[in-house]
């Protein structure tokens, strides 16, 4: 345990996913607008699972704004050359039970097919009990939709208080049309804090994320 307690909202999400999906499983976090808090929520949720004893992986799948490595404080995560085998993805240990990797590479994305992505996700499920995919905006790039369909479930992240855009009304229908399993909505930035209003930071529990995670070991744990 690095520091502080987790946001109670994350615990609720973890409990919900445990009840909805049977481990090993993968969950993609997406949204309609940038800045809704996908990466922060993904990192916090991954840490929550890791703290609960799950062997957890977090994959940065947001080529427009890759930020997982920076958020975890492990530097820029290197992207694999291909997704044919999971060994091609160099995972970085960010915390106990928590490895991080990235597929947010333009050259990789061009060569990536949906079947390859699903195969890669299946490989990760073989190695990790829980895989958290931090994707980009669903309507911003094709990879986000591919990731959503490759995962067992999708969480839609929305920033509390931002303006409603037309994409908000059609994101669920779009995901269900491509066969994705939309589990629910996760509002972030709620003034009262988590579900019980504890008011803790989702990522670190202390209001600051980036410096809180220790550098982990390189390679698979």
């Amino acid at each position: 345990m690095m520091n502080g307690s987790l946001d109670p909202g994350l615990i609720v999400i973890r409990t919900t996913l445990e009840a909805t999906l049977k481990a090993p499983f993968s969950v993609a976090l997406t949204s309609t607008q940038p800045g809704d808090g996908k990466s922060a929520t993904a990192v916090g949720l991954a840490r929550c699972f890791a703290d609960a004893g799950y062997r957890t992986a977090i994959v940065d799948a947001n080529p427009m704004n890759p930020s997982i490595g920076q958020a975890l404080g492990v530097g820029v995560l290197a992207a694999p050359r291909s997704l044919e085998t999971v060994t091609a993805l160099r995972m970085t240990s960010a915390a106990p039970n928590l490895d991080a990797g990235s597929i947010a590479d333009a050259s990789l994305l061009q060569a990536t097919s949906s079947s390859a992505l699903r195969s890669f996700a299946a490989d990760l499920r073989g190695l990790y009990a829980v895989t958290i995919w931090d994707t980009g905006n669903l309507f911003g790039d094709a990879l986000s939709i591919q990731c959503a369909t490759a995962c067992d479930g999708v969480l839609i992240v929305v920033r509390y208080g931002r303006r409603v855009v037309p994409d908000d009304a059609r994101i669920v229908a779009t995901l269900e049309q491509v066969g994705a399993n939309v589990i629910g909505i996760v509002p972030t930035g709620y003034p009262g804090g988590g579900t019980n209003g504890a008011g803790r930071n989702a990522l670190s529990g202390s209001g600051s994320v980036r410096p809180s995670l220790e550098l982990g070991r390189v390679g698979k744990s």
Binding site: G9, V164, I185, G192
Partner: protein
Amino acid sequence: MAVFEVLWRQRLVVALILVVGIAATVFTALTQVPKYQATATVLYTGHDAGNSLSLGQLDMATLVTSQVVTTRAMRKLHVNESLADFTAAIAARPAYQSNVMPISFTSTDSELAVDGANALAHGLRDYFLEVTRGRFDGLSTYLDNAIRKRQQQVAELDHRLDMASAGDPALAGDDAMTVLNARLNSLLAERDHSAAELTGSQAQVAADSEHLGAMAPLARKQIADTDYVYRALQGQWASDAAQLASQRSAYTSAYPGMSGLSKKVAGEGNAVNERLSQLDETPSEQSYAYVSALAGRDYHSSVAAGGEAQVSAYDREIDQVRQELARLPEVGSRLAAMRRERDTARAAYDMLAQRRELLLAEQAQAATTGTIEVIDEARVAVVSSRRGVLLNVGAALGFLLLAITVAFLLDSADRRMRSMDSISEVYGKPIIATVKAS
């Protein structure tokens, strides 16, 4: 709770409006000029005294703020402010189930407040008298004038009818046609009689003229018979002629002296003829018989002339009657129109007279309806602090309401995701959990 959530979200706007409002209220309260209020009390007495919501009570409150009462009060007080401002300073409302109504007047001048309340109370009393009784006076005056005018109209029409009847009575009556026809027939009969007499007179004149012509030789003889010269010459000639005839029968023409006698008789015959010629030049009027016949003819001529004049007079009169008969319809219709006009005027006069009698009865009834009396005049004015407090409290409440309204308007116009319900509604999926702002 949703209300408080909205207010919390718009807390800055709410706070801003409240702060500005309270500041404005405090500033106004600190800077406003103190106002004084004085109250006079009036009492309404009448049939319905004691009834709540009586007409008298309602009228009192309405009348005191009427334009008439307020304008008179302003004039009395020499107030130059607008009628609306003056009326706004009046507070008058009868108490429930009471015929007593306080009339308050508010002003920045305490004396004006007292005078205003008293002016309004007295003005209400006077105006109430006017509207309940004065209206009868006005109507009575109007009816009197109208009745007088109708009377004059009827009299004038009667006079015109009398004048028309007097000027031509034959035409004025209803049986003018019958009268005129009878008169015409009578004139025609008289004219016929006169014409017959005229014819007789004219025949007599003709006979007289003929007789006068026949009288001329007789008149000559009568003139000669009465002329002694002629008779002397005639006698001498007759004597000598008889002597000559005797000599001729007894002697021959050679009888001495016969030729001389014959010449003498011839000369005397010439003298007789010459005398007759002289007598022929003598006017016939020298004959008394002729003069008598001439007088008779002149008499009958004058009779005939008189008859002609009478017939002409009858003719003129007949023409006049016929003309009157011809214009009888026009005159009759004019007179009928005048009579109708007079009858209408009389009917209007009768109606006005009845209305006036009714008005007098109503006036007598109204005298018992009720009065307004000033039972307590305003004497001192008090500072209207309660009103100021109420105004300030009202202003504060108003600003609070304004703040709430603005908050809700801003919130309803806000398209941001402001609640869990709105987020769930937008996406159509349940919310698993919320995480704090990162």
